[in-house]
């Protein structure tokens, strides 16, 4: 029953023959070289993003969760080519943009925008709010003069700011209002895809809800696609259609949010879910998995499965063999040796291992 539901949802979402997805990322890698000594010789690499695959459809939200240092923000910036990828492909509506020059990238930049985490450092303190939101229109030569002013005013209205706010400077706004300015700036060019890099993490709970609701409304209104990067599973669950879980530069599980929550097939996802505090003292959890140890360094990731050093179900095989991200149930991708051709649920070590 459930499998069927997932399947139809998946095929509905994908339009297999019709058109390629809005964004497709294939084996994306970003390795930062570590240079040392007076000759700046490369002595190693930070494997920040190490082979990531996913796609996002028009009007869909893909959540990307993981702990600090797992490479989720680097993945977001690499997709926008704010950082050049080391390897892999980024396709927008089927067109490979990975190797495009700066000027050839420009039309694609209009389509893909970003909202940053910190509303304090992502706005130029010397520009007025109106200037910040209007700048993309000037750069892309879309509007100027009175027309630009009108469009900026309309954007301000849309994100819940008043037109008279346009003349104010960033320091005169609260955190939530600044994030609204960031959203207005991202919307200015009528993008198809917005990458949100922890867009609500720095906000207070009551303001966070306002911004999340705004993002959801804008998505419905403009058929926007979001790549929503965050560490807070509850926020990601709320806003996303599908969710990808990252650990040390790799996606370890990817599926629709209902399935991820009810049937996590990767031990790391299971641990993340059980570590999230639930704001209801009445809820008694079934089994609580508290991971031991820290996230290993991406400079020298563990052999085999990157998660084996903290995994409660670790087997010998995990220490040597890298698990592949496989579609174990239609629409449910997992990289874990616990599962054969069919999922093992609830998670358990196979007998004899």
């Amino acid at each position: 029953m459930m499998e069927q539901a997932v399947q139809t949802q998946q095929s509905e979402a994908r339009h297999p023959e019709a058109e390629p997805p809005l964004l497709e990322v294939i084996q994306l890698k970003k390795h930062f070289p570590i240079r040392k000594g007076i000759l700046s010789r490369t002595v190693g690499f930070v494997y920040a993003v190490d082979g990531v695959d996913f796609h996002i459809n028009q009007g869909e939200t893909l959540g990307l969760v993981g702990e600090s240092g797992c490479g989720k923000s680097t993945a977001g910036k690499t997709i926008l080519k704010l950082i050049e990828p080391t390897a892999g492909q980024i396709k927008v509506r089927g067109k490979d943009i990975t190797r495009l020059s700066k000027s050839d990238m420009r039309p694609y930049r209009r389509e893909m925008q970003i909202i940053f985490q910190d509303p304090y450092s992502s706005l130029n303190p010397r520009m007025s709010a109106g200037g910040i939101v209007g700048e993309p229109l000037t750069i892309h030569k879309i509007a100027s003069g009175k027309e630009k002013q009108d469009r900026v005013a309309a954007l301000f209205g849309r994100v819940g700011l008043r037109p008279e706010h346009m003349a104010k400077y960033p320091h005169e706004f609260s955190g939530g209002q600044r994030q609204r300015i960031g959203i207005a700036r991202a919307l200015a060019l009528n993008p198809n895809l917005i990458i949100g890099d922890e867009p609500v993490s720095a906000l207070d709970v009551s303001i966070q809800a306002q911004v999340i609701n705004l993002l959801i409304d804008l998505q419905e209104e403009y058929k926007l696609s979001y790549l929503f990067i965050a560490h807070d599973l509850a926020v990601v669950e709320h806003i996303s259609h599908r969710i990808a879980v990252m650990y040390l530069g790799k996606i370890v599980e990817l599926t629709d949010k209902q399935t991820l929550f009810t049937m996590p097939l990767h031990p790391y996802t299971e641990a993340l879910l059980s570590a999230m505090p639930i704001p209801d003292p009445k809820v008694k959890r079934g089994k609580r998995v508290i991971l031991t140890g820290d996230v290993p360094s991406p400079i020298n990731p563990p052999s085999g499965c990157h998660f084996h050093t903290r995994c409660p179900y670790v087997m010998n095989r995990c220490k040597t063999e890298v698990p592949e991200l496989r579609e174990i149930v239609p629409g449910h991708w997992v990289s874990c040796h616990l599962h054969g051709d069919t999922p093992t649920w609830p998670l358990a070590k196979p007998a004899g291992a």
Binding site: V205, A209, I239, A275, V295
Partner: protein, 355 residues
């Protein structure tokens, strides 16, 4: 050594002499901490009262700027003067008002009887000293142990907070450790003198969820072992729900609600608490709905500027229940249900609606 014993005895004696309130180790009453800035007067803490029982975990929750941290700093008298000043109220620790203590007497309290852990373990550890040095510093100062003994005690403390290879890690510097490890060091340091009260100010906010779970578990384990009473200050209602026994909710420098944790989450009597609970995305609820269908309930508007507070109830401008009375007069703190305090004119309406 003899002196410490005497101190301990003295402490027990005074504990007995104030028998009626002996269950309460810390009582804050009508505390006013104000900041006199160039732009005007900021009433960061404005008439806050709450108490902490022995061995209890009290959660203090509120958004940034609500005064929850300033209250904690006031307890330790760590408010920078100027611009800050505790202008009124009392803070009774084991029956004695800390506000009457001299600065040197306060030093005997800080880190010894009452200690504190902060949100950011990197900025609260000294980067140029080994962690062993930093932990033993407090032990030498307060317990009068020798350097060698204190060093061994530091290793013991690191073992207690489950730092592997403690005898090696004790020689390391803060930058050599991860965020979670540093927070363990902070806890080891805070507990090294066996304090009676631990003030934990957003101790897990800077940490990842899996590490947060480890640290909260560690704090509760330490509480079991050492019998420390904890004030846990956080903005995260999830953390509160899972660790605190009693909760104080603060808004714009005032306490607006106080209750036992199950009661508070089950039947919030203040619209702000109700709003906070409703505006949180819930992991267990979100998963059952398709995205976009369920809007989060928002609290309209934003926290008022402390320079320019509204008349009457401070939450009234954002409150869906607000009436003229709310805009005119600040509501008194009353017991709305057994053991459940709230400052709201309309708690009855909230209770009537059910949770």
């Amino acid at each position: 050594m003899v002196e410490t014993e005497r101190a301990v005895q003295g402490r027990e004696l005074t504990g007995q002499s104030v028998e009626p309130s002996s269950d309460k180790i810390l009582e804050i009453e009508n505390l006013h901490t104000h900041f006199f800035t160039r732009d005007g007067l900021v009433r960061a803490v404005d008439g806050v009262s709450y108490s902490l029982n022995r061995r209890e975990t009290l959660g203090v929750v509120g958004e940034s700027g609500c005064g929850k941290s300033v209250t904690a700093l006031s307890i330790l008298r760590l408010i920078a003067d100027p611009p800050g000043k505790i202008v009124d109220g009392s803070i009774r620790f084991e029956g004695k008002n800390l506000l009457d203590y001299s600065e040197s007497a306060m030093q005997g309290i800080r880190g010894n009887e009452i200690s504190m852990i902060f949100q950011e373990p990197m900025t609260s550890l000294n980067p140029v000293l080994t962690i062993g040095h930093q932990i033993s510093e407090a032990i030498i100062l307060h317990q009068g142990l020798s350097r060698k003994e204190a060093w061994n005690r530091a290793i013991e403390m690191l073992r207690l907070v489950h730092i592997p290879e403690a005898q090696l890690r004790v020689k390391e510097y803060p930058h050599q450790m991860s965020g979670g490890m540093r927070q363990r060091v902070m806890i080891a340091m805070a507990l090294s003198c066996n304090p009676k009260v631990l003030l934990a100010d957003e101790p897990t906010t800077a940490l990842d969820v899996t590490i947060q779970a480890q640290i909260l578990e560690l704090m509760l384990e330490m509480q079991q072992k050492l019998g420390t009473a904890i004030i846990l200050i956080t903005h995260d209602l999830g953390v509160i729900a899972e660790t605190a026994e009693r909760v104080v909710v603060m808004y714009a420098g005032k306490k607006v609600e106080e209750a036992e944790v199950g009661e508070l989450f089950g039947m919030p009597c203040h619209p702000y608490t109700r709003g906070l609970l409703d505006s949180m995305p819930r992991l267990d609820v979100a998963a059952e709905h398709p995205p976009g269908r369920v809007r989060l309930k928002e609290i309209e508007g934003m926290v008022p500027s402390l320079y320019n507070l509204p008349q009457g109830c401070l939450f009234a401008p954002r409150c869906p229940y607000a009436t003229e009375q709310c805009h005119a007069e600040y509501p008194p703190m009353e017991e709305k249900r057994p053991g459940h305090l709230a400052a709201c004119w309309h708690s009855d309406r909230l209770i009537g609606e059910g949770s």
